[in-house]
């Protein structure tokens, strides 16, 4: 339990941080006491990562102040933060895979004489830290050979070795088995007992109830509040705080009558990513897919279009089984995949719109490209997505919204009827969002089937005829438009109580 009499070790006061076009954090204050586990919660994009990075010196806040043990401080870099006793265990393991646990723990802080490392001192220091965690593997093998859980322990050991007073854990259980998680929790409780302040970020409500002494909730870059362990720390409170007020303004859209099944996914499994995912999409329907980052949604999409290999299961498009061998099969079957990462996977940024728009179907004869037709096709297709601009422009010069339109234009040219959108409006401003939504609706109304992966709650609730929810690689919930609510989606995706499920 946090020691209320103690002074906070780290205090953030009124911290704000903006990025071009986005206010990532606004006026957020938080205190960390020695001997507490402080959960930091919020939906994707609520500003958790930004806050962590400010605590860890990777970002400097635009406004607000940071105090270490009551004294004003500026953390200019992660190395600086580390020297001040603030350490972070990253969501993705950040160790040098070729070096051993011992080498990683002392990396950058080696004691040396004339450049020659004192390995004896390094061993003593690292082994002491590892022993506190009952490190189960050899500290001498390259950490790249250890399991993710063991690698995480090495990161924790590094935090202990520098005697970090604040240890930030960013979704540490994301890739751990439940047994490994339990073991980690034991260790975290020990560390709390030893007086460390732990910041714990997790999407899993159960873990938070299990571990946290306090929970601070962020939403849209703002502090919603901090709840102490006790009667107030309930699932309902937390979900309400994370989600905010209801979104009734989207509720009164007409419900459509969907047509025949156009995409049918059955028992699709990819080891280590997701298991036994089955669902279908009908003509005229937009099916939303919700879930936290890492729940396996993008992985499912990538398997449907054979960008990754599925280990088991079938995908039927328009009534015939897909061979699931290579992406070109799925393109032929009329499946369009609009990736989340448009800049790398959706567009050739240094090429013209004409080339980009016709990339999936280039007009050619005997291998020679018909440039005139290419430009004409591109113009027509771009017109269909109401993106009227010269086809000679380079894709890299466009705004995010227009880039998404070009990607859509490309797929329209292939006569695709099944569209998979992964985060269709990420990085797109509000005006362009509405246009993208209108285009999606129009596609569906013309008989296409759409699967829309999204982390934005308003988008899911507004656009989807049905919502599927994934958690930890499994499809855990499905709801029709009329039964869908933000609370239900969040409780499914964070593993809420049984009573929340239908």
């Amino acid at each position: 339990m946090a020691n209320r009499d103690a002074a906070p070790f780290l205090t953030l006061k009124g911290v704000s941080k903006s990025f071009p076009g986005v206010k990532a954090l606004q006026d957020v204050s938080i205190e960390l006491y020695p001997g507490e586990i402080h959960a930091l919660m919020g939906e994707n994009g609520a500003g958790k990562s930004t806050l962590l990075k400010i605590m860890f010196g990777a970002y400097v806040a635009d406004h607000g102040s940071l105090e270490l043990e009551g004294k004003h401080a500026i953390l200019g870099s992660p190395a600086h933060a580390l020297a001040q006793g603030i350490s972070m265990v990253h969501q993705e393991v950040s160790l040098v895979p070729q070096l051993s646990a011992i080498q990683n723990i002392v990396l950058g802080r080696e004691q040396s004489v004339a450049g020659i490392i004192d390995w004896k001192a390094a061993r003593t220091e690292a082994l002491a830290a590892l022993r506190r965690l009952d490190f189960p593997a050899s500290p001498y093998v390259p950490v790249g050979r250890l399991s993710v859980a063991q690698q995480q322990l090495v990161e924790l050991a590094r935090a202990l070795a520098v005697d970090a007073k604040v240890i930030i854990l960013d979704e540490p259980t994301a890739s751990l088995s439940s047994r490994e998680s339990d073991r980690l929790f034991e260790i975290l409780r020990d560390l709390r007992g030893a007086g460390h302040a732990l910041v714990y970020v997790s999407h899993r409500l159960a873990e938070v109830f299990d571990l946290a002494d306090r929970a601070t909730v962020l939403r849209d870059g703002q502090l919603v509040g901090t709840v102490l362990r006790g009667p107030d720390l309930t699932e309902k409170t937390l979900i309400r705080m994370m989600v905010g007020r209801g979104l009734d303004d989207f509720a009164n859209l007409p419900t459509r009558q969907p047509g025949e099944v156009i995409l049918e996914v059955k028992d699709l499994t990819r080891q280590g990513a997701f298991q036994d995912v089955s669902f279908d999409v009908r003509r005229g329907e937009i099916v939303g897919m919700a879930g936290m980052v890492g729940a396996g949604r993008t992985e499912v999409a990538r398997c449907i279009v054979s960008a990754d290999k599925a280990d088991a299961g079938t995908v039927r498009a328009k009534g015939s089984d897909l061979p699931l061998r290579s992406p070109s099969d799925s393109v032929k079957a009329g499946i369009a995949f609009l990736t989340e990462d448009r800049k790398h996977q959706g567009l050739a940024l240094h090429m013209s719109l004409a080339i980009n728009a016709t990339l999936a179907r280039t007009p050619s004869r005997f291998g020679f490209i018909n440039r005139r037709r290419q430009r004409q096709d591109a113009r027509e297709s771009l017109a269909r997505v109401s993106a009227r601009m010269p086809v000679t422009r380079l894709a890299g010069q466009l705004s995010g919204g227009n880039q998404q339109k070009v990607v859509l234009a490309k797929w329209l040219l292939t006569d695709s009827e099944i569209f998979i959108f992964d985060e269709p409006t990420r990085g797109i401003d509000v005006g362009a969002k509405a246009e993208i939504y209108a285009l999606m609706r129009e596609l569906a109304d013309k008989g296409a089937g759409i699967l829309m992966i999204s982390s934005e709650m308003p988008e899911l609730l507004r656009m989807s005829d049905r919502i599927l929810v994934m958690r930890e690689g499994r499809l855990v919930g499905e709801m029709g438009r009329s039964e869908a609510s933000e609370e239900r989606v969040v409780s499914y995706s964070s593993g809420g109580e049984k009573t929340w499920q239908k």
Binding site: S77, S94, S100, I117, T124, E125, L127, P139, V141
Partner: protein, 332 residues
């Protein structure tokens, strides 16, 4: 933090691995493959012709391999940082020419050696600075400096081979110490020193960290630019060592030297366990790789195989050795 006595874990761990790092164990494991390749090659040539198996022949092969070995070690330093040094042959030619001209100018041997090393250091510093400041990929940068260095070598020598190297210089670097040819001794010293740098110094440790996970190294407060540039300086200075030995052996400094040295150097380094993705490499492995290439060349020559066929055969063996490494790594 208090230094807690860590005996139990230490004891358990020392059963698993002898000392310091598994890097060494893994290195030895990786070298198994190339050692096997070397032994098989020797065996095959011996089976074809008994006369191949002679002490005289082996000393010759090792002597032939010594320059390649030094360059392969140099290349390994750079590859460990996830870079590559294509300019290494040209840097050798440039510093060899510098040493030839200094010798011709009548300077004392220490001055000649320092001058040649300085030329190497300057070449490496240029590579390192361009790479760390502009962040252009090492492949392209050293491709450019490869041309620059060989051009400079031709300019300062007027395009002519520099003759008239004093016999004393040849005795110094290409003679013999206790009946062992000096180039072999030099290569051995370079090997031991380089292995020690990798195992015991911050320089070696940080080069591995930078090559293995650049961002992790940066976040750990390591000056990535300095240690990256250091690898290129070391590489070119070792090229200078190779250059001087070559000059001593030939008794002349040819500004077009080194063109043929790049391929065997990179091949030996990679066969010896250097990972082009960075973070891994073995100095001993690089040397054994150089020995393998020299053995192939010597053996094929011994069997009177035409040099055109030799080139093909060497290429095939390099690819086979790398394939073996790849399979070995996949299993590990």
């Amino acid at each position: 933090m208090a230094k807690i006595d860590a005996d139990p874990l230490k004891k358990a761990a020392s059963d698993a691995a002898p000392r310091i790092t598994i890097g060494r164990v893994l290195g030895e494991w990786r070298q198994l493959g190339i050692v096997a390749a070397l032994l098989v090659t020797v065996l095959v040539f011996t089976l074809i012709d008994r006369d191949f198996f002679s002490g005289y022949n082996f000393v010759n092969i090792i002597l032939q391999a010594s320059i390649t070995a030094i360059l392969a070690i140099a290349e390994t330093f750079v590859i460990i940082t996830a870079g590559i040094d294509l300019s290494i042959g040209s840097a050798l030619a440039l510093s060899a020419t510098v040493s030839g001209l200094l010798l011709l100018g009548g300077f004392s041997f220490p001055i000649v050696i320092l001058g040649s090393l300085a030329a190497g250091a300057a070449s490496g510093l240029l590579n390192g600075l361009i790479i760390t400041v502009t962040r252009i990929t090492p492949f392209v940068v050293t491709l450019g400096t490869m041309s620059i260095f060989s051009g400079l070598a031709l300019i300062i020598s007027g395009g002519q081979t520099v003759y008239g190297v004093p016999p004393g210089f040849s005795d110094l670097l290409a003679g013999a110490i206790w009946h062992i040819p000096t180039p072999i001794v030099i290569a051995l010293l370079v090997l031991v020193a380089s292995a020690l740098v990798m195992k015991t110094t911050k320089l070696g440790e940080y080069m591995i960290a930078i090559g293995g996970a650049r961002e992790v190294a940066r976040l750990a407060g390591i000056n990535v630019a300095v240690f990256t540039a250091a690898a290129y300086v070391i590489s070119s200075m070792l090229a200078a060592v190779g250059g001087m030995v070559t000059v001593a052996r030939l008794g002349a400094a040819d500004p077009t030297l080194g063109q043929d040295l790049l391929l065997p150097a990179v091949a030996a380094a990679v066969m010896g366990g250097a990972d082009l993705q960075g973070g891994e490499g073995s100095m001993l492995g690089a040397v054994i790789g150089a020995l393998l290439i020299a053995t192939l060349q010597a053996g094929l020559t011994f069997l009177n195989v035409q040099s055109f066929y030799q080139q093909v055969a060497i290429g095939v063996v390099i690819i086979l050795a790398l394939l073996f490494n790849r399979l070995q790594k996949g299993r590990a």
